[in-house]
């Protein structure tokens, strides 16, 4: 793990910006996708894929690699952006994303995209599947860590909490989950559709070590994941407070942008706001 110099923070912030730009371009070109939840997760994905996780793009099946599950599978654009920028597959493969002959599916498919550790799409699976992966690591005496990114809307479903109980029962300290807590879901604010707060008390009561951070602050994300790796008796939940649609003013905190696609003008404005000089 490289040390976090101011220079390194700037580098990671730049990668986050690129992941946002990539995500929007993928979605715009395809004409469908989920921009809001991709943008809210950009710093988290950056820190995982470019700073924390032990991975090797040349060996996507490496047994000792850290695992990642995008439980909120609809944010696939930002995962694909991270994987291409990390070198798991050429970005050119995303040019026909959405076409039948493109290997990369609307939602992540572990059998079709190198670097995708688990198929996802329908919500709720990540914590339970991640618990199984973490159990497997322990049984095999492997020291890889399992990371799961889940959404706050997704966490309204009961199976998330069933998985939470399993991880707590088996003291799966090698499992770290990050809650992309952007408080916006398809039909509106999470706190209106089905209030779930307080997240911290719920996860603490479930037997997890809980950290709460600003999910757009690179340093806070890095530090939280470092602390999680030092907890030895329980799984860790990092509650990352984020903004849905982060970085694009008209998308921020607006449930319309959960699953809608920017038109050409909106795309131009979005890229400008994201500091992208090249508008192609």
């Amino acid at each position: 793990m490289s040390s976090l110099t101011p220079q390194r923070i700037l580098e990671l912030e730049e990668i986050s910006r690129q992941l946002r730009v990539d995500s929007l371009r993928f979605i715009h070109r395809r004409g469908s996708g989920h921009p809001g939840g991709a943008l809210s997760a950009a710093e988290i994905m950056t820190v995982l894929y470019f700073h924390i996780m032990r991975i090797d793009p040349a060996r996507p099946d490496w047994e000792d690699r850290d695992r990642f599950i995008l439980s909120k599978g609809h944010a696939s654009a930002v995962l694909y952006a991270a994987l291409t920028r990390r070198g798991f597959f050429p970005v050119s493969e995303m040019e026909n994303w959405g076409e039948i002959d493109c290997p990369h599916q609307g939602h992540p498919d572990r059998l079709k995209t190198p670097g995708v550790d688990m198929t996802s799409g329908l919500l709720g699976h990540g914590v339970a599947v991640g618990s199984g992966l973490a159990l497997a690591a322990r049984l095999k005496n492997l020291d890889y860590r399992t990371y799961v990114l889940l959404g706050d809307g997704e966490s309204q479903g009961g199976i998330v909490w069933e998985g939470a109980a399993v991880a707590a029962k088996y003291h799966l300290a090698n499992l770290t989950c990050i809650l992309d807590c952007n408080d916006v879901q398809l039909d509106g604010p999470v706190h209106e559709v089905m209030p779930m707060e307080p997240w911290d008390k719920k996860w603490q009561a479930a037997g997890w070590h809980v950290l709460e951070i600003n999910g757009h602050d690179i340093l806070e994300v890095v530090e939280a994941l470092r602390v999680a790796a030092q907890i030895h008796d329980k799984p860790t939940m990092v509650i990352a407070r984020t903004t849905k649609g982060k970085g694009v003013s008209f998308m921020e905190n607006n449930s319309f942008w959960h699953g809608n696609v920017p038109n050409a003008d909106q795309m131009k404005q979005a890229l400008t706001e994201l500091g992208e000089v090249n508008h192609g």
């Binding site: 199984g132 159990l135 199976i159 069933e162 088996y170």
Partner: protein, 313 residues
């Protein structure tokens, strides 16, 4: 030989095979004393995970264990696994192609004292429709035990249907078994009775009764509902000219439907289907009597055979 419950034969076989293959792990949902995964749990406490009463979660945890290189056998009631946990089975086992083995116990109406909530009369329809799923229905206790090592070493998702009860013994332990290869249990020329699971023994008795009337019934055991041994089914249909199916399952979506699909597609042949007639079966005191009352008696098979023969050209 004393009749052993299918679940006990399965449970003992799993514990035995656990010694042979250290990658086999087992999960249960607070039903290990019922499914008899308890034999495995006792022998391999470090490789057994009790998930509590949370079947969907068990499927997902097993998928994770499979991703991590293990061969998880998940144990629970067929009714809950094939309904409440069906989405997890679809997404995280079949679509993600994780090497999870689903030991679906208390299948059919074998949990006769607990009634319709606990019966699984649609499970085969549910899992058969999933791409990538292999579906196996043992005929008796010996066969259930014999499947364990084969299923464990088979690459990919498997649904292994286990009865709570002991079906009529049909097989000697260790008789040849192959995924997707139906077994001819009795030769015959006038008609073919195609069956599986607990109805297999009953169909053999029905064939005896038909023989008393001078009718020669062939009995084919299709233990693998998917992938279906279409060649063998077509061969039997062609050679005998009429077919009866019998299964401890709803008449919709199980073996009878699968055979009807094959025959309808490739070789239209008179077909009579014995099964539960699209109804919720009542609670009973005794499984054999309950099966008789639910349209699964030997007599129903014999009657279906006569109907089939009457339709034969």
């Amino acid at each position: 030989m004393a009749e052993m419950a299918m679940r006990e034969a399965y449970g003992r076989a799993l514990a035995e095979f656990g010694t042979e293959n250290p990658n086999v792990v087992a999960l249960d949902v607070d039903t290990s004393a019922s499914t008899l995964s308890s034999f495995f749990a006792k022998q391999f406490p470090d490789r057994f995970f009790n998930i509590g009463i949370a079947e969907p979660c068990m499927v997902d945890v097993a998928a994770g264990l499979a991703l991590g290189g293990f061969v998880p056998f998940i144990n629970g009631f067929a009714s809950i696994l094939s309904l409440r946990a069906l989405e997890q089975i679809r997404t995280c086992v079949c679509y993600a192609r994780t090497n999870v083995k689903i030991a679906a116990s208390y299948a059919g109406i074998s949990d006769f004292k607990d009634g319709p909530t606990h019966y699984s009369i649609t499970d085969l329809a549910n899992v058969r429709a999933l791409p990538g799923m292999t579906v196996i229905v043992p005929a008796d206790a010996a066969e259930a035990a014999d499947w364990v090592p084969i299923v464990a070493e088979y690459d990919g998702p498997v649904y292994l249907r286990i009865s709570r009860a002991g079906a009529l013994p049909v097989h000697q332990p260790g008789s040849p078994l192959q995924v997707g290869k139906a077994r001819l249990l009795r030769e015959g020329n006038d008609l073919t009775i195609i069956t599986m699971g607990s109805m297999t023994g009953r169909c053999l008795i029905a064939a005896d009764k038909l023989a008393e009337k001078g009718l020669s019934a062939r009995v084919l055991e299709v233990h693998t509902l998917k992938p279906l041994d279409m060649d063998m089914i077509l061969k039997c249909a062609e050679e005998t000219g009429t077919v009866v199916t019998a299964e401890e399952h709803n008449i919709i979506g199980g073996l009878g439907s699968a055979v009807a699909e094959v025959l309808g597609d490739q070789l239209p042949t008179p077909l009579e289907r014995v099964g539960i007639r699209d109804a919720f079966c009542p609670t009973g005191r005794d499984l054999e009597k309950l099966m008789d009352a639910c349209g699964l008696s030997v007599d129903e098979v014999v009657k279906a055979a006569h109907r089939a023969l009457a339709r034969k050209k």
